[in-house]
Structure formats: structure tokens, C-alpha cells
Amino acid sequence: MNNLSLFFTVFIAGITLVVAGLGMAILLSPKSFNLQKGEPYECGIPTHGTSWMQFKAGYYLYAILYLMFDVEAIFLFPWATIVRDLGFAGLTSILFFLIILALGLAYAWRKGVLQWK
């Protein structure tokens, strides 16, 4: 049994769980149609307009910052596994990489991206 086949087994197990659960629920649960029941949940009055609209940009800025650091993590993981063999040469070369990233964060901080307005 190699890892890949086990991975797909677990993947299929997950899908089976959801499909079997939903199938069982559909078989067991009562059904009744009522137009009012399908209304989006609101505090009691009918909802006003759609919620697919422009949203606060602050959230997206954090997502972009995250992207920067997440790609960095992909580069850092291989380095982290062999850092013992690389020694101080590995440390100094990755230090420049980290400094550039830290500068990026500092720039974003200075520009007020991290300020919630």
C-alpha cells in the first residue's frame, strides 16, 4: 500500500461520508414546501436586496499579504529540513530572503495596510 493510494482512499472516504450522510438525511427527513420558508434569514423582516455586493477592501489586503508570506513558507520548508547540513552558509543566504520579506511587511505596515479603518 503506497501513500498515494491511501491518500485517494481517505479522499473517497470523505466524499462517501458526505454523500451517504446527505442521502440518509434526504431519505429520513420530512419534506414540506412553503415559499416563506425559503426566504434568507434576517431579523424578521424580508431581506433587502442581494448580499452579492462590493465588500470592505481591508479583508482583501490581508489576503494579498498572506499570499506573499505563504509563498515564502513554501520556499522555506525545504530549507528548514536540511538546515543542519547547510550550516551557517544556509542561514546567511536565507537571511537576505527573510529581510526582503520583512521589508515588504514593514512597507505594508508603514502604508497603513495593517490599520483597520
Binding site: 466524499i15 538546515v83 550550516g87 542561514l91
Partner: protein, 370 residues
């Protein structure tokens, strides 16, 4: 000295016996297929059973924190309460909402469950009890567990409900921020143990758990991991995405019946997954506690089955998580993001470099004492 005493209750004996019996009786192709099906069934069963147990434990412990009794009607001490709840949720109607994005609405539970079950499969529960064991284990766990956020965003957006939308947006910002800290905290330990494979990582902690081995740096990483792991599961003081007094239920407001049940299931299992990855990476996984020089003590510790060690450590971390959850008031979104980006992330990056220096100068406990 390799301390590995034969423990009669170890489950890998059972699995290897089943493996041998299947290979003896059937051609290889069929034996492997049957084993894969068995693994799948076991994973689903453990997943569902753990959720039922965790929900009961959570309700009971919460009740004790709030000086209540908690569930006590269904069965002795209310132990069948969650079984009754699961049955109830199965026979509830799945309400179809008007004006939703139907495809995305019904796909979201798949994303959430599959992401958490894939991570669940990679956890080493005990000696030889691990389904998926990639050599990039830590990276795999981080990347697959973060797929769950796609489900949350889909659920929130496709519901066409303001509460869901705000909840999903908050959850997205919170999850991606804290994902970063958790990743770098785990990377600190990858530097220490020099491997990303979870089974090898557990094996390398035979004489000294990583949290002791890397002393200062590992402790800082552990604290950061606990905070960010707690935030990733949307619980405790970080439960902004589903803050019930502001957003009713956040991103799963519109879900009903078992579809809601899946979100609930994944939430509890994610708590378990975060705790078990923490236990595996920092607290030695299924390895027993060993103290250098105390030979008889070390031997005694090896007689406790490995899965009991694992579940003991996980239970400790889960209890800690519940303790935090009921001890602190909810944060505001700006406080939450400030905590991550202005404090945890810089501390984490410096901590990573400190760990590299500790490893390179030979100041870890195993370098000093062994």
C-alpha cells in the same frame, strides 16, 4: 539502548496480523483492495465517533466551567445526549433557500469535510496507526487543512445572506492570517528535527520531546501554535466568524439539517486535528515521557500503549483549548488582525532564526546531554 518493549495491547500487532492473513488467503491485488476499503471504513468510523465523543465532552466541560451540570437526561450522566442529537439532526428537513447559488451552496460541505478528513488521515494515532504518511507530512497537513477555508467562503458567499457574507469574510481574513503563524511555528520544529515526515518526526522524539529539546525557541513556537491553532478553528475568544450575538451563526446561518451538521462535525474535528498535530509535533506524538538516567521509570512508561499516550496528550490540549474558550471575552476584528500581523508574525520570524542558531551551535538538549 533502544527502549521499545513489546506491549501486548499495541494495535499494530493486530493490523500486521490482519495484513498477513489477507495476503496468505487472497491474491495480492484483492488483499490490497480489501485493506484500502478497511482503512476507509475505519477512518470514517473514527471520524464520526470522535465527533460524537468530543461534542459530549465539550458540553460537559463547558457546563462545569459555568457551574452547571450539563447534559444529564439521556443515559447515565447524559452520555447518549450527542447520539440523540445526531439522530435528531438526521431526521430534520433540509430547507431549500430561494435565490442562493445552488451549486456552490451544496458543494461547500464537501470541501469542509474532505479537507478535515484528509488532514485526519495523516495523524499518527499510535505505533503504526497512520493512514497517509507522506515525506512532506507537515507541509501536507498545513496545505490540506487550509483547503477548508474555501468551503467556508463558498458557504458564506453562496448563501446570499448578509450574516453569512460577513461571517465568511471575517473567517477568511482570520484563517489566512493565523494559518501563517501556525505554519511558521511548525517550521521552527522542522528545523529542529530535520524532517517533515510525521512518523519520522515522532520517531526522532524517542528520548526527548521536541518541546524540551528546543527549550526556549520550541516553547515560544508552541505558545504561538496554540494561539493560532485556536484561532484557525474559529473558537474561543476568536469566534468572530460565528459570533452568535452579532451574526446569528455566521457562514452557516442558511444551512439546515444534516448540512449544518457537517459544519458542526468539521468544527469539532478541526479542534481535534489542531490538538493532535500540536501533540505530534511538539509533545512527542505517541512517544512516552522519557527522562535521561531514570531507567526503570523509562521502562515503566513504555508499558503504556502508544495510542493512550497520544489520546492523553490530545485530551490535555483540547481541555486547554476549552479552558481558554470560556475564560476570555471575544476580540474585535482589528484587535485580532493586529495580534497576528504586528505581534505573532514578527516574533515568529525572529523565533525561527533563534531556533536555527540553537540547532547550528549545538545548544539543543539532545546535543548537550546525549
Amino acid at each position: 539502548m533502544l527502549l521499545n518493549y513489546s506491549q501486548p495491547l499495541e494495535l499494530n500487532k493486530l493490523t500486521s496480523r490482519i495484513d498477513a492473513a489477507l495476503h496468505a488467503a487472497l491474491p495480492d491485488y484483492w488483499a490490497v483492495t480489501i485493506e484500502l476499503v478497511l482503512v476507509g471504513i475505519l477512518i470514517i468510523a473514527t471520524y464520526a465517533l470522535l465527533a460524537v465523543v468530543l461534542i459530549y465532552v465539550e458540553r460537559k466541560i463547558t457546563a462545569f466551567f459555568q457551574a452547571r451540570i450539563g447534559p444529564n437526561r439521556v443515559g447515565k450522566y447524559g452520555i447518549f445526549q450527542t447520539v440523540a442529537d445526531v439522530t435528531k439532526i438526521l431526521i430534520k428537513e433540509i430547507i431549500h433557500i430561494n435565490r442562493i447559488d445552488k451549486f456552490l451552496f451544496y458543494t461547500a460541505p464537501f470541501f469542509i469535510i474532505v479537507a478535515s478528513i484528509l488532514t485526519f488521515g495523516a495523524i499518527p494515532f499510535g505505533q503504526g496507526l497512520q493512514a497517509v504518511d507522506f515525506n512532506i507530512g507537515v507541509l501536507y497537513v498545513i496545505s490540506v487543512s487550509s483547503l477548508g477555508i474555501i468551503g467556508v467562503l463558498l458557504a458564506g458567499w453562496s448563501s446570499n445572506n448578509k450574516y453569512s457574507m460577513i461571517g465568511a469574510m471575517r473567517s477568511g481574513a482570520q484563517f489566512v492570517s493565523y494559518e501563517l503563524s501556525a505554519g511558521i511555528a511548525l517550521m521552527t520544529i522542522v528545523v529542529l528535527s530535520g524532517t517533515m515526515q510525521l512518523s519520522t518526526m515522532v520517531e526522532s522524539q524517542r528520548y526527548c520531546w521536541n518541546i524540551f529539546n528546543g527549550h526556549i525557541s520550541a516553547l515560544v513556537a508552541f505558545v504561538i501554535y496554540l494561539i493560532s491553532g485556536h484561532a484557525e478553528t474559529n473558537r474561543g475568544p476568536f469566534d468572530l466568524p460565528e459570533a452568535e450575538s452579532e451574526l446569528t451563526a455566521g457562514y452557516h446561518t442558511e444551512y439546515s439539517g444534516l448540512q449544518f451538521g457537517f459544519f458542526y462535525l468539521a468544527e469539532y474535528l478541526n479542534m481535534f486535528i489542531i490538538a493532535s498535530i500540536g501533540a505530534t509535533v511538539f509533545l512527542g506524538g505517541w512517544m512516552p515521557l522519557q527522562i535521561a538516567g531514570w531507567e526503570s521509570f523509562n521502562q515503566l512508561m513504555w508499558f503504556i500503549p502508544s495510542y493512550l499516550w497520544f489520546f492523553g496528550k490530545v485530551a490535555l490540549l483540547i481541555f486547554f483549548s476549552l479552558w481558554v474558550r470560556w475564560s476570555f471575552p471575544r476580540l474585535r476584528i482589528d484587535q485580532l488582525l493586529n495580534l497576528e500581523w504586528k505581534y505573532l508574525l514578527p516574533i515568529n520570524l525572529v523565533n525561527l532564526l533563534v531556533m536555527v542558531i540553537l540547532v547550528l551551535t549545538g545548544l539543543t538538549l539532545t546535543d548537550i546531554f546525549y
